[in-house]
């Protein structure tokens, strides 16, 4: 549209007493236009684009060749695999049950399979807002008891499997789920405690958070293994897995407390005053007004912490528990299949990625859903 026609339109509109309807300028469309705007807008952008293109050409074909084209896909012996230049997926075919379930008795591995299915069902149904009803809490209790019974056995004709033989994906899911399910509420309480008016409570919370945050997770796990039994009376021992789980819960709660505190600090003072002036009690004010808003703001850093902890559970390897990473390492100790570590780690990397990426995607969805009200 030329300036003259535009002016004429405005003139006409002004004469008729209404504002002119003017179309926005037509964007430069098409593939060339897109490339121009996004990849070659300036000379330095063009150089970066070309450099990245060169790097991709160097890396991607080789990877595709290794993963797909030259890979051994059918069940085959280790010798066949060694002869091939690509990945040996026959190794995964041979060992996937060991990687997924660790040293859990082979004949009983339907039990951890079912346990993982229960975990996934619980987690997925909790993601749907339609299911956010009181019975969901009940479902979690029933589900987790079912998981414990399935894994441990000893009742209902199931043979007893000691926790030392648990491993792989169910162990990773268990450590992460329990760690966050108990660590999150504990973290919220610590965050509230840190902002409390009561000096003793505040001191306790600050001390707890700073102490736990001040040491690495590995140290906490070692403490749980080595130091903790010293504090127990003679003859009493607590299961290794439980000790590690408690260590993870404590560690997660300290980190989550700081994330939640960040959200709490973002709530304007007026919200507290409005709740006070309406006569709401401290817990009503916190539960109905402050936390719903604070947690909503905290979703991105919360999910960041969740994802971090899901992966950090792999540190239990150090104290002799065989989670997914531990089991993958174990699979490599078979003399017949030594050396296929790339395939083994690639496989568990994909499993980790699926879980972490889902969490990330879900958090984006949740943010969008929950922001309906506050968006203008």
């Amino acid at each position: 549209m030329t300036d003259q026609t535009l002016n004429r339109q405005i003139d006409t509109a002004a004469r008729e007493g209404e504002s002119p309807v003017i179309q926005p300028p037509v964007a430069k469309r098409g593939l060339i236009g897109w490339l121009r705007a996004n990849l070659f807008s300036t000379w330095y952008n063009s150089i970066v684009t070309l450099l990245l293109l060169y790097l991709l050409l160097q890396i991607v074909p080789g990877m595709i060749d290794w993963v797909f084209l030259s890979a051994v896909w059918t069940p085959a012996s280790a010798e066949v695999c060694r002869a091939a230049s690509g990945a040996c997926w026959a190794f995964i075919h041979e060992k996937y049950r060991l990687i997924l379930f660790g040293t859990y008795p082979f004949a009983e591995q339907w039990r951890p399979t079912l346990a993982v299915a229960i975990f996934l069902a619980l987690i997925l149904s909790s993601c749907n807002r339609l299911f956010w009803k009181p019975w969901l809490g009940l479902a979690w209790i029933v589900g987790l008891v079912a998981v414990a019974v399935l894994m441990y056995g000893g009742v209902l004709g199931l043979t007893l499997v000691p926790t030392t033989r648990w491993g792989g994906l169910p162990l990773t899911l268990m450590l992460a789920t329990f760690g966050l399910a108990f660590g999150f509420p504990l973290g919220i309480l610590m965050a509230l405690g840190r902002r409390s008016n009561m000096p003793a409570l505040r001191l306790l919370s600050v001390g707890y958070i700073e102490l736990i945050r001040g040491v690495p997770l590995i140290t906490v796990l070692f403490m749980a293994m080595v130091m903790f039994p010293l504090f127990l009376p003679q003859g009493v021992s607590i299961n290794n897995l439980l000790r590690a789980q408690i260590g993870i819960i404590l560690f997660a709660s300290a980190y989550l407390a700081e994330v939640v505190r960040g959200g709490l600090q973002a709530i304007p003072k007026g919200q507290y005053e409005a709740a006070d002036s309406l006569g709401l009690s401290y817990w009503q004010k916190t539960g109905l007004i402050i936390l719903p808003q604070a947690l909503r703001i905290s979703i991105p850093p919360l999910v960041n912490t969740f994802i971090g902890f899901f992966k950090d559970t792999s540190l239990v390897l150090i104290i002799g528990l065989f989670d997914l990473v531990g089991a993958a390492k174990t699979a490599l100790t078979d003399p017949a299949w030594r050396g296929f570590y790339r395939e083994s780690y690639f496989f568990i990397a994909i499993i980790y990625f699926v879980f972490c990426y889902s969490m990330s995607k879900y958090s984006q969805y949740l943010e969008k859903k929950l922001n309906v009200g506050t968006r203008r």
Binding site: A274, S277, L278, L288, I289, V372, G373, T374, R376
Partner: protein
């Protein structure tokens, strides 16, 4: 509950009594020997330069600010550090803020029914009927299912007034209710407040709306440097100010 609350004054006496109330923010003496008695149904407008302690004074009435010396009795209940007394007083005293302070994560309807349901234990259906009644009184019943962020400033402030009224308070405190509003929205909020005043609500308003003070107030109070400098019925307050400080203040705000 009510057993534990000492009734220190007989019914029929002033609904709010402040005797020798003092407050400091750190070293700053923000309220100096405030003595004030408010009768039932009385409408009081409080004005004064910024920083004169007028907001702080009305915020002491529902314990959003704690006074450090003196005595405050609201509806026969003395305001002490006893949480039961504070809760009992807050149930009877509504407050409207300059910044509205609606709960942004709840719909208008949920904003209005939250306190009646949780504090007064009113059944949900009854609370919603009351909420609709007050939304109609502030003339925005059609906004009930919207979120505060979707309303204009004037509408939000009217929702805030309705939210306080849903608790059926005996006293309403207004802390500069129109100061954060665009000029064209001031009137709709003032109209709502005038309507409320005509029904006999006990009201204390901190405001710079002198037109409102003239037409509605039974008494206008002028505060400066943490003191009540002068108080009078509107005609005398505006027509025949006594102190120099009030004369100066009036000359500054009434052009």
């Amino acid at each position: 509950m009510s057993m534990a609350i000492e009734k220190t004054a007989a019914a029929g006496a002033s609904i709010i009594q402040m005797n020798g109330v003092n407050k400091w923010f750190g070293e700053f003496h923000v309220l100096k020997d405030i003595n004030l008695a408010v009768e039932r149904g009385e409408r009081i407008v409080i004005c004064g330069p910024s920083g004169s302690g007028k907001s702080t004074m009305i915020r002491c009435i529902n314990a959003l600010e704690e006074h450090q010396r003196g005595k405050i009795v609201v509806d026969g209940i003395e305001l002490t550090s006893n949480l039961k007394n504070i809760d009992a007083i807050r149930r009877e005293v509504g407050m409207v803020f300059q910044q509205f302070n609606l709960f942004p994560h709840l719909t208008v309807m949920e904003n209005l029914t939250l306190a009646p349901i949780w504090v007064r234990k009113v059944p949900k259906k009854e609370a919603e009927e009351t909420a609709m009644y007050f939304l109609e009184r502030v003339r925005i019943p059609e906004q009930a299912q919207k979120y505060p962020g979707q309303l204009s400033g004037g509408q939000q402030q009217r929702v805030a007034i309705a939210r306080s009224l849903c608790m059926k308070p005996k006293i309403m405190l207004f802390d500069e209710p129109t100061s954060a509003l665009d000029p064209e929205m001031v009137k709709e909020v003032l109209d709502t407040m005038v309507g409320l005043a005509e029904e006999g609500m006990t009201m204390l308003c901190v405001t710079h709306e002198m037109g409102f003070a003239r037409t509605v107030a039974d008494r206008v109070i002028f505060m400066d440097f943490g003191e009540i400098v002068e108080q009078n019925v509107p005609e005398s307050f505006f027509g025949n100010p006594q102190s120099d400080r009030l004369k100066l203040f009036l000359s500054q705000i009434l052009h």
